[in-house]
C-alpha cells in the first residue's frame, strides 16, 4: 500500500514527496487483494471532495477508500475539515465537487436508499433526552424501515451490547455522559450498516467509557464492518485505524498505515520541553542547532522534532537556556502520528 504526501500550498517545514514500498495491510483478509480490486469492492470510495463556506475552503480535494473490515482514520486538529468531509460522505451536505460511492452506489443528499447502508454517529450527542434509550432506538429504527419483532429484538440486542439494558426505560437525560455516548453509537448500529461513520465519538468521555467505545469499534471492524473514524487523538488513531489520513486545512497531507506514516518522519524524535521565559527566542535558538528540524513554541514550552535526541539534548538545553528560557522538564518520545503531523504541517496535533 502506497503512502503519499500531498503537496501543500504553504509549507511551514521542508517536506519531501515520499513514496514507501507498499506495506501489508493490518488485516490478513485485505493483504492479498490487489489495490484495484480493493477499490472496486470498497465500502466507501470518495474522491475530489470539495466544500467552500464563503471565502473559506473547508475541504479541498479529499478522497480515500475504505474496504470491508477496514478502519480508516481521519486524523487532524479541530477545524481541519474532518466533520465537513464526513457530512459530505453521509449525504448531509451538498458537495461543491467530488464523488461518493457506498458499496459502489453513488450518494448525494437527495439519495435515500444508499443512506441506509451507512451508520452515522455524529460528534454531538444526537439523542432525545426526554425519551428513554429504548424509545430512542425504536424511533431511529423505524426511520430505517425496521418494525415489529425484528426491531424489538435488535433494540434489546444493542441495549445489551452497550450495557444499557438495566436502564433502558429511563429517560436519557438522567444518563451519565458515557452512557449517552454509548447510546449515541448504538443508534448508528441499529440497522447493521456496511459503513459506520464515527465523528470523534470519544470527545468528553471518561476513560472507562472511552475504552469501551474503542473496544466496540475494534469488534465491529473484526466483524467486517467498514469504519470511518475521525479523531484528533493520536492514540485512538494508532490503536484503531488500519490506515490513517492526516488532514489539515481541508486537505489530506498523507495517508497510509501507522508504520508508513511514521517512516515519513525518518526516525526523528519528538522532544517536548516544559519551559518558561522567552519561549520564542528559545525556539529560534533551537532551530539554529544542526539536527533540530522543527521547534514550535506553545504555551508553557516547546515542541521539537530532532534527529537523535539523546546526543542533541545537552546542546539543546544549553541553547534554550542561553536564549532566556528556563527548562523545567524534558520529555523525549519516539516518532508517532503526532510527530508525523508536526512534520507535515508544522503544527502540533492538539486543539
Amino acid at each position: 500500500m502506497a503512502v503519499r504526501s500531498v503537496p501543500q500550498p504553504r509549507e511551514p517545514v521542508p517536506t519531501q514527496d515520499v513514496t514507501v514500498p507498499p506495506a501489508p495491510p493490518a488485516r490478513q483478509t485485505r493483504s492479498s487483494e490487489p489495490a484495484a480490486d480493493a477499490a472496486a469492492t470498497a465500502v466507501l470510495a470518495c474522491s475530489g471532495l470539495r466544500k467552500r463556506f464563503g471565502e473559506r475552503m473547508a475541504v479541498d480535494g479529499v478522497g480515500f477508500t475504505i474496504a470491508p473490515g477496514e478502519t480508516y482514520g481521519l486524523l487532524g486538529p479541530n477545524g481541519a475539515g474532518k466533520t465537513t468531509t464526513i457530512s459530505m460522505v453521509c449525504g448531509l451536505l451538498v458537495r461543491d465537487g467530488g464523488e461518493v460511492f457506498v458499496q459502489g452506489r453513488p450518494l448525494d443528499p437527495a439519495t435515500t436508499d444508499v443512506k441506509g447502508l451507512i451508520g452515522y454517529v455524529p460528534q454531538d450527542l444526537a439523542i432525545y433526552p426526554d425519551l428513554s434509550a429504548r424509545e430512542n432506538l425504536a424511533f431511529f429504527g423505524r426511520l430505517y424501515g425496521m418494525s415489529g419483532r425484528a426491531l424489538r429484538q435488535r433494540v434489546d440486542e444493542l441495549l445489551a451490547v452497550v450495557e444499557l439494558a438495566d436502564r433502558a426505560g429511563e429517560r436519557t437525560e438522567h444518563y451519565s455522559g458515557g452512557m449517552k455516548r454509548r447510546l449515541n453509537i448504538a443508534i448508528g448500529l441499529l440497522h447493521r450498516p456496511r459503513l459506520l461513520v464515527l465523528d470523534e465519538p470519544t470527545v468528553g468521555v471518561d476513560p472507562q467509557s472511552r475504552n469501551a467505545i474503542l473496544s466496540s469499534v475494534e469488534t465491529l471492524s473484526a466483524e467486517g464492518m467498514g469504519i470511518l473514524y475521525t479523531t484528533h487523538y493520536m492514540e485512538e488513531a494508532e490503536r484503531l485505524c488500519d490506515r490513517v489520513g492526516i488532514i489539515d486545512e481541508g486537505r489530506i497531507r498523507a495517508e497510509g498505515t501507522r508504520r508508513d506514516l511514521v517512516a515519513l518522519v525518518g526516525g526523528r524524535d519528538r522532544v517536548s520541553l516544559a519551559a518558561s521565559g522567552d519561549i520564542r527566542a528559545a525556539a529560534m535558538a533551537a532551530r539554529a542547532i544542526r539536527g533540530v528540524e522543527d521547534a514550535t513554541p506553545r504555551e508553557g514550552g516547546l515542541d521539537l522534532l530532532v534527529v537523535e535526541a539523546r546526543s542533541l539534548l545537552p546542546r539543546l538545553l544549553e541553547a534554550v537556556g542561553d536564549a532566556g528560557a528556563s527548562v523545567r522538564s524534558v520529555e523525549v518520545v519516539e516518532p508517532d502520528l503526532e510527530a508525523v503531523f508536526l512534520h507535515l504541517t508544522g503544527k502540533a496535533l492538539r486543539d
Binding site: 448531509l92 444526537a126 432525545y128 425519551l131 426511520l143 430505517y144
Partner: protein
C-alpha cells in the same frame, strides 16, 4: 410519508411527556373559555327585569301602553309587570329594589290623549340603568306612535270634504276632536298603529352575524390556534439545537419528511386545541358554532392555515426563541387585522378590506355563515377553500425554504 408520521408521533409523545401538549392544547384553551364565560353572558341567561306598574287611568290608551306595548316585553321574556295600587307603592317597590323600574300612568291619561292635551307617563328608576333605559325607550316609542296618530287625525279632518259640516261644526270653530265620533276615532287610531303596506326584507350579508358569544368564542379560538400550532413548526429548530437533525438527515428518508413530521404534529395539536375550544365555549358561554360536520371542516381548514403560516414564519428564524417571538408578533398582527378583537362590521372600511389577507377574517366570516339556520357546505366553501389555500401556499413556501436550509447548511 411514513417517516413523517413516525416523526410526528415522536414529537407528540415528547409534547405529551413534557406536558406542553396538555397545557397548550387542553388546559389553556379551557381556561380561556372559562375566563370568557365570566365576561360574556351565556345566551341561555339573557337579560330579564321587572317593572312595578300603577295604572291610575284604566283608559283605552293606558291599556294599549301596558297590555300591548309593555306586553311584548313580557311575552318576549325580557320583563315581568308587577301591578301596584298607587304611585307611592310603585316608588316603594323601586326603592326596595324589588323591581328594576316603575311605570306610573296618571289618571286622565287616555282622555288627555284623546283631547290632544299634554300628559305624561312617569318612569321610576334607581339602580338598574338597563331596566330604566328599556322602560324609557318603550314609553317614548309609544308616545311617538300616539303623536303620529294625532297628526293623522288632524290631517284627515282638515282635508276631508264636508267633514266639519257633517260633524255639526267647522274645524276652526270647535276643533276636530269635538266633532269626531268615537268609532271613527278608533278606526283611524287602529289604522295608524297597524303595520304599513310596505315592509323591509333585509337579506344583506350583515344579517349573517354570529351571536356575541359565538363571535368571541371563534375569535379567541382562531387567535389561540396560531400560538398552539407554532410548537410543531419550532420542532425543526429544536432538532437542530439538540443535534438530532444531522442524524435524521443521515437516515434513508427525504429531508422533506422531517419538516412534514413537524407540521403533522402541529396539525394534531391544532385539532385538539380547536376541539377543546369549540366544545368548551359551546358548553360554557353558549356559543353557537353551527352544524358539527361543517364546523369540523372549517376547523381543519383553519388548522392547516395556522400550521402553514407558522411553518413559513419559523423558516426566517435561526433559534427557537427567535421563531417563537416572530410567531407571536405575526399571530397578534393577524388577529388584529383579522377582526378578532373588534367585529369587522364595527371597524373602518379599510380594516375590513385588509382583513381579507388574514386567515382570521375568513374563519370568522365562515362562523358568521354557520350562524344562519339551514346553512350548507356551499355557504362556507369559499372561506374553507381560501383557508386551505393559505395553508398550502404558506406551508409550501416554508417547506421549500426549509429544504434549502437543510441540505446546504
Amino acid at each position: 410519508m411514513a417517516a413523517a408520521f413516525v416523526i410526528a408521533a415522536r414529537i407528540l409523545r415528547q409534547r405529551l411527556r413534557d406536558r406542553s401538549a396538555l397545557i397548550f392544547a387542553v388546559l389553556t384553551p379551557l381556561g380561556l373559555a372559562v375566563a370568557f364565560s365570566a365576561l360574556v353572558a351565556p345566551a341561555q341567561t339573557s337579560y330579564h327585569t321587572s317593572y312595578a306598574v300603577y295604572d291610575g287611568d284604566h283608559g283605552a290608551f293606558s291599556r294599549v301602553l301596558l297590555d300591548e306595548v309593555f306586553g311584548h316585553l313580557v311575552t318576549g321574556g325580557v320583563a315581568d309587570l308587577v301591578p301596584v295600587s298607587s304611585e307611592a307603592a310603585a316608588r316603594e317597590e323601586v326603592g326596595a329594589a324589588e323591581v328594576g323600574a316603575g311605570i306610573v300612568v296618571p289618571a286622565g291619561f287616555s282622555t288627555a290623549i284623546a283631547a290632544g292635551t299634554p300628559t305624561s307617563v312617569t318612569i321610576l328608576g334607581r339602580d338598574a340603568p338597563s331596566a330604566l333605559q328599556i322602560a324609557r325607550s318603550t314609553v317614548q316609542r309609544f308616545a311617538s306612535s300616539v303623536g303620529a296618530t294625532q297628526l293623522t287625525i288632524a290631517t284627515t279632518l282638515a282635508t276631508a270634504p264636508g267633514a266639519a259640516s257633517g260633524a255639526g261644526g267647522t274645524a276652526g270653530q270647535a276643533g276636530p276632536r269635538a266633532t269626531l265620533d268615537p268609532a271613527t276615532l278608533d278606526g283611524i287610531t287602529a289604522s295608524v298603529l297597524a303595520p304599513g303596506p310596505v315592509s323591509v326584507v333585509d337579506e344583506s350579508a350583515d344579517r349573517r352575524q354570529a351571536t356575541t358569544q359565538s363571535f368571541y368564542a371563534a375569535s379567541m379560538a382562531i387567535m389561540f390556534l396560531f400560538f398552539a400550532t407554532q410548537y410543531g413548526a419550532l420542532s425543526l429548530l429544536a432538532e437542530r439545537r439538540g443535534g438530532t437533525l444531522a442524524r435524521l438527515l443521515a437516515a434513508p428518508i427525504r429531508p422533506a419528511s422531517v419538516i412534514l413530521g413537524g407540521a403533522l404534529a402541529a396539525v394534531g395539536l391544532g385539532l385538539v386545541t380547536m376541539t377543546v375550544m369549540v366544545v368548551a365555549t359551546t358548553v360554557l358561554i353558549g356559543a353557537n358554532w353551527g352544524p358539527p360536520p361543517l364546523v369540523a371542516l372549517l376547523v381543519v381548514a383553519a388548522v392547516l392555515a395556522a400550521v402553514g403560516v407558522s411553518t413559513l414564519v419559523s423558516t426566517f428564524a435561526k433559534t427557537e426563541e427567535q421563531a417563537g417571538g416572530w410567531n407571536v408578533i405575526v399571530a397578534m398582527t393577524l388577529a388584529v387585522l383579522g377582526g378578532t378583537f373588534i367585529p369587522l362590521a364595527q371597524g373602518p372600511e379599510l380594516l375590513a378590506r385588509l382583513s381579507l389577507i388574514t386567515p382570521h377574517a375568513w374563519f370568522l366570516r365562515a362562523v358568521d355563515d354557520l350562524s344562519v339556520p339551514g346553512v350548507g357546505l356551499a355557504d362556507i366553501a369559499p372561506s374553507v377553500a381560501i383557508l386551505v389555500a393559505m395553508g398550502l401556499l404558506t406551508g409550501g413556501l416554508g417547506l421549500l425554504r426549509s429544504r434549502a436550509t437543510l441540505v446546504s447548511r
